[in-house]
Structure formats: C-alpha cells, structure tokens
Symmetry: C2
Subunit: 348 residues, 2 copies
C-alpha cells in the first residue's frame, strides 16, 4: 500500500491493467462498466488485477491525453452510400477490440480527403488514417502532408504514383469485377449492353469499372457504342442514377441489358426502366457490383457481384495497426468478390 | 510584433481567428487547408485576421487538449439501420460547423447505451452525448452516471421517469405516426390489417408504434387479432423482418394490408409476401414509417410516413449545444412526419 502511494495514484493505467490481465483495453473498460459482453474468465482476471493494484479509474488529464493519442481517423467520402455502412461497423469493431478510438469524419464526394486527413491528424493527434472512398490518383507529394500511416479502404492507387512501400490498401479488383459482371450478361446472349457509370474519364472507381465493361465487350468482339454509356455525373447517389437513366432512355433505349457500377445505382436505374415501360428482366436484364443488403429484398432480386464488406473493414484495420505498431510493412490487398445470383438477369 | 511575442505563440488560437473573422472554426480550418468550399468573402476575412495576428497553426499539446475537450459523443445503436445514415451526416455537419468534434461509437441493438456513454464520457472527456436510438425507459438513477448533458435523438423517454428539465429529446410522435399510417389503410377499405413489429411489450419505438396500430383499429371498431401481429423478435433488421413475415404467412395469411413499423422492415416483408404469391398492392397493401431513400425507388414505390431525418440530427445538436453553452434549457421536441404517397396501397 505504501509502495503504491509512493508510485503515485496515476501510475497504474487502464492499459497496465489490460496488459497484466492479458486482455484488451476494451475488455477492461467493459468490466469496469459492468457490461455483459465479457467472458467470465476475462472478468475474473481483470477484477483480480484491479484488486491487486488498487486500481481506481480516473479521468485525470494525463490518462485522457494518453487515451486520446490512440485515435484513428476514419474519413468517409459520401457517407450516404449504403455500401459503406457495414464497413464502418467493421472498422469500429476492430479498432475498439484493439484498444483504439475511431474518430469519424464524413466529407462530400467532391471534398479533398487528404486535406481533411491532414487537418484531423494535427487537430486530433491521429495515429493513423483509414480513408473509406477517395481519389485513386494520389501523388507522393500530396500524401506527404499526412505524416501518419494510412490505408485506402475499398479503393486503390490505380491511377496514382505512390510507392507501394508507403501505403496500404484493401479493395476488390474493380476492373475484374466489372469484367465478370458484363461477361455474365454476354454469356446470357446480350449484345446490346448499356453501362451506368458515374464518370468515365476520372481517376475513380467508376473509371476502373468502366474499363472492365469495355474489356468484356472487346473480348467478345462487340463494339463500344457511346450512346449506351449513361453517366450520372460525378455522383453515385440513387437519385442521380435514376435521373441519368430516365434521360438516357429518352435518347436511346436500344439495349437489352444494363450493367450498373453499384447496387444502389442499379436500384435507381430499375425504377427508370420500369417507368419507361421495361419489365426487368423480361425486357431488360440488370447486373451490378456491391451486394448491399437491400438489393437482396427488392423485386426482382438484384443479380450482383458482392464485395466482402466486413472483411474490407477488418483487414484495413489489421494492416494499419500492424504498420503503426511496427509489426508489418505496408501491403495492397485485393479481395475476391462473390457472384450473388438474383432474378434480374435472363438469357435471350 | 514585440507585443505578440510577449503574449506567447499559443495565445492566438483557431477559435480566436474564427471570432475575429466572424466565421466558424470549421471555416477557418477550411481556409487553412485551402479547401474550395469556402466563400471568397470568408476566405478574405480569415486571411486578413491571420495576417494581422501572425497566426501560425500549431499542434502543441495545449491546442490539442483544448480541441479534444470539444468532443461530443454520438452513440448509435444498430448502425446498420439505413434510417440513421442521413441523421449521422446531419449531426456531424452541425457539430463541425459549431467547432465541435464528433466521436462516434456504434453499439449492438442489445448493448446498454448509457453504460457506453458513461465510459466514453470519462475516457474521451465528452462535453455531451447524443444517443441515436436507445431504450425509452431510463430512470434518473441510470442517467446519473452520465455527468454531461445528453439528447435522445429519434426517440423519447416515453416509458421512463426522467424529469423533463434534465434531458433533451428530438423525435416524431411515434404512436401518432403509426395511427396515421394504419388509418390510411382503413380509409382505403382494409379491415384485416396485419402489423409487422419488432416487439410489442418492451419499452421501445416498436411498442409505441404498436400502440398507434391498436388505437387506429379501436377507433374504427375493428377488434385486434393476435394472429395478425407479426413480431421480428427484438430486431429491426431487414432479414429478420423477411423471415418473420414468411413464417407469419404460413400460420395466417388472412389479411389484405400490412403496416410495417419501419421502411426497411417493409421491404423485407414485401419479398416474403411476393414469395407467398401475393402481388403488392393488388393482393396486399403495404404502408410503413421512416421514408428512407431506397424506399422511393423499389417496385412498387413504398407508401410511407417520412421522418424529417436531417432536421432530427440538426435539432439534436442545437438543443445539446444550447444546453452545454448555457444558452437554453432542456426541451423535448416532437417533429411532424410527412405523408409520402407511393404505389403500395390500394383501395378495396
């Protein structure tokens, strides 16, 4: 007791307790707050350590500063994107389990995520940053402002010039997924296949998926017809997809299948097709990429290439923390998609 | 210059710049980071103040501590709920504009949001907490652990015992919204109206909306039939709604209309109805509450009572900050819903 007092009240922290009990900081917090989601074995160990060290949770500035320096930024570009919901949950769960704090910032689709990341890193003393959605063309000079490790989650530096040793990314192979989706339509006999994209020339996911569309047509000897490429502008939003397809159909409706670069955009497109008198899939097949929850319940169920959303979030955290904690070098992971058959594609 | 040096480098903060330039802290940050989303007039004023005061952005511990003590917790219970997406965006935008930092934590539907809030408040030195979704039956003793102002966003203390002077809430009138939705079905000639709920007896939004269903039936002289009440358990998830309705239909399908307590649940129900051979709305009308984006694009478009999602988020921040900054007492706001006609209800 005397010895503990000489060491000072603040010497035993929540992290010490976690280390001594061989559990995560998050588990110690749960025990301190009497939460049910802790195993009896962990609870017993944590309580034993707390008792042995006379630990009292406190909120002195010292403890709080220590904790706040475990902040990881999650910068989400276009948060209304339903595709991101499961990824955000997976990132938060993985960070929490590892004893870090997620500080989330949502930015608009045209905001500069690197500038926001740099600002947050200074203001919140971030240890690292996860970018959920962003430009695919960063230069070394642009990312130099960050000063902390970062991961591109759900996208890559496909159009950029970053040295692979300087960043991590976790994504699918977007061009390949689009190639597979369009090939599925071609295998079903479709030759007049429209594409619903956001933009075709930018350094974006949309441009990568558009590449896959072009390559699939090319490999099947089908010429690209510009009037069958429908752009929703720089937007992935469902309402913009709906409007773009409604307008596109007025210009040219000479197609029997539509490839949409995202499930949510496909759902917007399907309404426009129906309002144009097209039954899906009798008059027009539809296929997309993402596999968001709702696309499994709409009528007809959307045929899509499903992204491993939980794994995208979890792996992003793993790579970032490995780098921060000196356990691993930067890596670029590409995860496979899975084909989820629905009822929106038919053979002709 | 001499005078500035005597005052010390740290004396002019980003907040001082904001006050002197008559803009928000967020605007100053944007100017410092050369972001495009600032008016030329604001940019000019901020730069003039920065030049006049020789301000240099720094990341000394003092500035960081000051900033980190502006943290507001947002605790989201059941983050996969698509209804929350727009609210989260509105909360973050409003907090950012007011110079606060949002620290978001997502918890499972059965987690205790008050315990999480209390833990976060200590660990992150929160100034206040916004609960997005939670129990409706808090007691004064339970909330005493929080120690900071809080707002219930999208729900109320309807089943609890809190003194109205001690908390804020921003929600719709859930019982009234359900009453209005079911009344719309009854006005269209339906008398055999099923209800899809989460639970009927708990202290939840579901129980409040179930009250509205019962009251509408009662006022129209229609007896409540237990076999027409379909519970998805304690879940609002689309997959649980789908399963519950699929099972419910096998027990009893003697109804011509379905009231679902949430849009997402209605979308799950519609798939189950179709798989049971029911066309919507020819064989069964469907109405719900929430007005999430996707429900406007599915087939048939869902008829629903739309919640003012952006306003729910924005008003929650307003009430919380007014209380924190001593500008206003706690209040309980109820915002109106708006009827969004779709194509899922027909007269019989």
């Amino acid at each position: 007791m005397l010895r503990r007092e000489r060491q000072g009240e603040g010497r035993v922290t929540i992290k010490d307790i976690a280390r001594l009990a061989d559990v995560s900081v998050s588990t110690v917090s749960r025990v301190l707050n009497d939460r049910p989601d802790v195993s009896e074995e962990s609870r017993r160990r944590v309580r034993a350590v707390i008792a042995a060290h006379h630990y009292v949770p406190n909120n002195t500035a010292r403890d709080l500063v220590r904790l706040s320096s475990d902040a990881i930024g999650l910068i989400v570009r276009g948060v209304q994107n339903p595709f991101y919901t499961d990824i955000i949950a997976a990132v938060e769960t993985a960070l929490d389990a590892a004893g870090y704090t997620m500080v989330m910032r949502q930015i608009g689709f045209t905001d500069d995520e690197l500038a926001v990341g740099a600002m947050m890193q200074r203001e919140k003393r971030l240890r690292g940053v996860i970018f959920l959605g962003g430009r695919l063309n960063y230069t070394p000079r642009e990312v130099a402002q960050l000063n902390v490790p970062f991961v591109l989650c759900s996208y890559t530096n496909a159009f950029g010039m970053l040295d692979r040793a300087t960043y991590s990314s976790v994504s699918i192979d977007d061009e390949r997924a689009a190639f597979d989706a369009v090939s599925e339509l071609l295998r079903n006999g479709h030759t007049r296949v429209a594409a619903l994209i956001a933009d075709r020339d930018g350094s974006t996911i949309s441009a990568l998926r558009f590449r896959g569309y072009r390559r699939a047509l090319r490999e099947h000897g089908i010429p690209l017809r510009g009037e069958l490429v429908i752009s929703a502008g720089d937007s992935f939003a469902i309402e913009d997809a709906y409007r773009a397809v409604a307008e596109g159909l007025r210009r040219c409706d000479d197609f029997t299948a539509l490839f949409a670069i995202a499930d949510d955009m496909a759902i917007g497109a399907m309404r426009a097709l129906r309002e144009h008198g097209r039954d899906i899939p009798a008059d027009c097949s539809v296929i997309a990429i993402d596999g968001i929850a709702v696309s499994e319940y709409i009528h007809p169920m959307l045929t899509t290439l499903s992204q491993p959303r939980e794994e995208l979030g979890r792996r992003s955290v793993e790579l970032l923390l490995a780098n921060i904690e000196g356990r691993g070098a930067h890596r670029q992971l590409m995860l496979p998609t899975s084909f989820r058959p629905g009822a929106s594609v038919r053979a002709i």
